[in-house]
């Protein structure tokens, strides 16, 4: 992670990348290329600097991961080709022989969509030859076309995005070419493969200028798929994939089901998307908003009227204006992930707020420190606040825990799955806390502080920039990030405006010339 204090005065772009599609990029791309298909399990994403999109530019795939691609692709095309209507819609014809011109036309067309650029003539010919030889071998033209489709999708040209840029006569830096830019925009703003309009714009070299890029970005953000810019950003930033992997004590939390977990993971992106696209509200309202989305189970968890809702339904609701639940800090996703199977963890919740919302790193405990918190004497019931007092009374612990515990302890009204509770072990809960010396009360007080925090807004911009770049930012990009932070503030934390500013910034459009 770049250290802002080392910010150089002058901007310089980061290096080009080879990004393997993340799990969700792969799934969404197959959906757009093939129509609705069930896609099997893939190698798990790796997380670097907070994002799967960053991990995808540094981590290498394993042999098992390559196997999984092959299986997933084969199963996906089998679903399409088993259905004559879908097959015809995809291929565009019913070739009787493999040297039918329509096979080559399909290869050129599907290749361009899946590789996000036109194939060279040699490549079309090579894949055409694959189709013909396979048809001869199997005596089955349809299966040959399916296997050729597999090959186009199993190709590293599909599975990887090679973003190198090209020399730009008007600049000392290289610039991403229009096809690369189409993919950058599409995967950033829609988390999927570029649509036809983007590829056509690239074909006209219409993404060579900041204005051209901004225009396409505006179009994407105005479309349904553009909501995914926020949806997937929130999913990655807040590590929502973890929600579905968490187990809870089955006796204590019988209502904690996989459908509830799915609803929790879905709620946070929906809440953020609604703020950004439906309400056009300031992004930092994410910490205070009462508007959220629930299924039956989540409504029950939140103590809302669940009449008319089912486990599969999805409805916008307003949380009670005088309640303790609002915004991100009141969501089941956040509260249940930063908890063990039985109890919420004030330390982990505080750590999340420091690291993910304020971009502050908490170092691990020093070596050979006993992390034991002594049990109270028999008959004495202590609250977590009392037990964790040891964290703050011992100087070696206090240096870090004083930054975390006072942010997490005020959330103790929410248990290990995020349900509200009045008391802890029969005792009233003390919800006072402080954020860097500023006192507050409870989750609502903390949410308000975060929603006006300069640090929180700067952190959000940095995270969005890194997510958009798909790599860790370097020191010479700090001037761009600082300018984005400034504009974000003066624009009233308008998230759509920020995304447009990001894509038209030099940091998003330029790339360092490759080292020879």
């Amino acid at each position: 992670m770049a250290d802002p204090s080392q910010a150089a005065g002058e901007f310089g772009p980061g290096k080009g990348t080879l990004k393997r599609l993340t799990d969700s990029e792969f799934r969404n791309s197959l959906r757009d290329l093939l129509g609705d298909v069930t896609v099997g399990e893939l190698e798990p994403d790796s997380w670097s600097d907070g994002f799967a999109k960053v991990g995808s530019s540094v981590v290498s795939i394993s042999a098992n991961g390559v196997d999984k691609y092959q299986l997933a692709i084969d199963a996906a095309t089998a679903q399409v080709f088993a259905d004559a209507t879908r097959r015809a819609a995809l291929v565009g014809c019913e070739p009787q022989v493999a040297d039918d011109a329509c096979v080559d036309a399909f290869i050129a067309r599907f290749g361009r969509s899946s590789w996000r650029r036109p194939l060279t003539e040699a490549q079309v010919q090579r894949y055409g030859e694959l189709a013909r030889s396979t048809a001869t071998l199997l005596g089955d033209v349809t299966e040959a076309v399916r296997l050729t489709t597999n090959a186009l999708l199993f190709s590293p040209y599909f599975l990887y995005r090679m973003e190198r840029g090209q020399a730009d006569p008007s600049s000392s830096w290289w610039r991403f070419n229009s096809y690369e830019m189409a993919a950058r925009l599409a995967y950033f703003l829609a988390n999927t493969t570029p649509d036809a309009t983007l590829l056509d714009a690239a074909e006209r070299d219409g993404l060579a200028t900041a204005e051209g890029v901004r225009g396409q970005a505006e179009r994407l953000l105005g479309s349904v798929s553009g909501r995914e810019s926020i949806g997937n950003f929130a999913t990655e930033l807040f590590r929502l994939a973890i929600v579905r992997t968490r187990a809870k004590d089955p006796e204590r939390f019988p209502t904690y089901t996989s459908t509830l977990q799915s609803a929790m993971a879905r709620e946070v992106p929906a809440m953020f998307e609604s703020l950004v696209f439906d309400e056009r509200a300031p992004a930092l309202d994410l910490f205070t908003t009462r508007r959220t989305f629930v299924n039956r189970e989540l409504a029950s968890l939140y103590g809302l009227d669940a009449t008319g809702l089912t486990d599969e339904s999805w409805a916008a609701v307003d949380l009670p204006p005088d309640g303790l639940r609002a915004g991100l800090l009141g969501t089941g996703a956040f509260l249940s992930v930063y908890a063990n199977q039985k109890e919420g963890s004030p330390t982990q919740r505080g750590k999340f707020i420091r690291e993910f919302l304020l971009c502050q790193q908490i170092p691990p405990p020093p070596p050979n420190v006993s992390t034991v918190i002594e049990d109270p004497p028999p008959g004495v019931v202590l609250t977590k606040r009392e037990r964790l007092a040891a964290h703050r009374s011992q100087p070696v612990c206090a240096s870090c825990h004083s930054a975390m515990d006072p942010l997490g302890l005020p959330l103790e009204n929410f248990d290990a799955i995020g349900a509200f509770r009045e008391t802890e072990q029969g005792r009233e809960i003390d919800t006072t806390g402080d954020l860097d010396g500023v006192p507050f009360d409870g989750p609502i007080g903390l949410g308000k502080l975060l929603s006006t925090s300069d640090r929180a807004s700067a952190c959000l911009v940095r995270n969005l920039y890194r997510y958009a770049a798909g790599r860790s930012e370097i020191a010479t990009e700090e001037p761009v990030i600082e300018a984005l932070v400034e504009r974000f503030r003066t624009n009233g934390f308008d998230m759509q405006g920020l995304m447009l500013d990001v894509v038209s910034s030099d940091g998003f459009r330029y790339v360092a010339a490759p080292e020879l």
């Binding site: 997380w47 190709s155 590293p156 992997t245 187990a247 199977q341």
Partner: protein, 444 residues
């Protein structure tokens, strides 16, 4: 006489030539062996296997270490569940993770599996199983396989919290935690008749070939680091290609779905799932589908709940039991019970490997199972008295039934020793404080 490494096609030929009934696992046919049953007829040594078997959260050193060193050792408290296979054990005690400063679970798992540290969320050098795979795995149907029993995790981003097998920096081999996925990958083709497989495989082969041509076009445009990443991808494709060329002949173990074993969704690392994973691995070894594996019983810092061991065990094993239970390194009774459960599960694997005959011995005779963890005493993340247990006789390279004491020696030295026992011929191993250029002396 020309010698070749054993592969599936060769075994298949042997099988048909002898007309033996297909009672598998029957990996190595007597007809392929020399008169003593200790080597192949052509003089090659028998197949050897290697596996890392990893569990999270460490041990209680005074209860783990046997008190007497040498051949007259007795099983310790925590090793007691392994009594049945005592003659196969080599306990190595006293090793130290030499990395300075805090040694938390990600660094601990990197140190004990790679001998190197952690950088940017990743191990920095290859893990022992991958070093061994380079030496003995390349001609196998699977160069290595990575399996897991419980995926309970603290949820941090570090790859060294989620994988104990690494091909190098930023190249983790994540364990497969779904027994059915393991089964399908290893044995899914076992029942397919060979009749028209060849044609289908040839067609599949062309799909893979196309990807290789594309990758080679891309290579020239990439910088060094990205080229290496693409090469790793190509390596995966090559392994797939090799598999197409090597039909397997192996009667599969029970399908996990048929016997109702699914992945561990409750973070309990139960004996039944561990037993299934052990069965899959044992048969894969016996059928020579692979010679190298890693098994994650529980991940580093696993937030596992052993509630099946008793109502009083229903707490977070990492957070609550290891880190906050009262007591010193000899008296944390709930930690002890978790370790006993772990060793019981290990014992089932070792006994299964021993039950599979091979030559004049069994598969465990010809295996080296490296058992370790991410910390020594978990409560304080201790770095001395690291848990290291070697099971199996590595094809005669280890005598077994011994407690070898190496107080203060670098943990990496046992990795160095194992690498060379398995024929890797390394002259150094690990990185930074874990870098060593020799193994443990007087060890084998």
């Amino acid at each position: 006489m020309r010698t070749r490494p054993l592969n599936r096609r060769r075994m298949l030929r042997g099988l048909l030539a002898t007309g033996a009934a297909i009672a598998v696992p029957l990996p190595v046919l007597d007809g392929m062996l020399n008169g003593n049953g200790t080597a192949f007829a052509q003089g090659q040594p028998l197949v050897r296997r290697f596996a890392t078997w990893f569990f999270g959260n460490g041990i209680l050193p005074p209860r783990w270490n046997p008190t007497v060193a040498g051949n007259n050792w007795e099983l310790s408290d925590q090793l007691a569940p392994l009594a049945n296979v005592k003659e196969y054990l080599t306990v190595v005690s006293g090793l130290v993770n030499k990395f300075p400063g805090s040694s938390f679970h990600p660094l601990g798992s990197a140190a004990s599996t790679t001998g190197g540290g952690v950088e940017d969320n990743s191990a920095v050098v290859p893990s022992i199983d991958q070093i061994v795979a380079e030496a003995i795995g390349k001609n196998s149907i699977f160069k290595s396989v990575e399996l897991g029993v419980s995926d309970a995790t603290p949820g941090g981003p570090e790859n060294t919290l989620h994988a104990v097998s690494h091909r190098g920096k930023n190249a983790p081999n994540f364990p497969e935690f779904d027994p059915l996925a393991v089964f399908s990958r290893l044995f899914g083709q076992a029942d397919v008749s060979a009749a028209d497989i060849a044609r289908l495989n040839q067609a599949k082969q062309s799909v893979l070939d196309a990807a290789v041509v594309d990758a080679n076009e891309m290579r020239g445009l990439l910088g060094m680091a990205d080229r290496q990443r693409l090469d790793q991808h190509l390596d995966g494709i090559r392994q797939l290609e090799m598999r197409l060329a090597m039909p397997t002949q192996c009667v599969a173990p029970p399908n996990p779905a048929t016997v109702g074993i699914t992945r561990d969704t409750r973070s309990e690392a139960p004996i039944a799932i561990s037993g299934m994973v052990s069965e899959l691995l044992s048969i894969a070894f016996a059928c020579d589908l692979t010679r190298v594996a890693s098994v994650v019983f529980t991940l580093p810092a696993a937030h596992v709940y052993y509630r099946q061991l008793g109502a009083d065990m229903n707490d977070d094993f990492h957070d609550t039991i290891c880190h906050t239970d009262p007591g010193d390194s000899a008296s944390q009774i709930r930690v002890h019970r978790g370790v006993l459960h772990t060793m019981q599960c290990l014992s089932i694997l070792l006994q299964r490997l021993r039950s599979l005959p091979e030559g004049d011995g069994n598969v465990l005779d010809n295996s080296l199972i490296y058992v370790t963890s991410c910390v020594s005493w978990g409560k304080v993340h201790a770095k001395d008295e690291w848990p290291v247990l070697l099971a199996g006789k590595a094809g005669g390279a280890l005598q077994g039934n011994v407690h070898y004491r190496a107080p203060g020696e670098n943990l990496s030295k046992v990795l160095f020793t194992m690498a060379n026992l398995m024929g890797a011929g390394v002259t150094s191993l690990g990185a930074a404080e874990g870098l060593v250029e020799s193994g443990l002396s007087g060890f084998v």
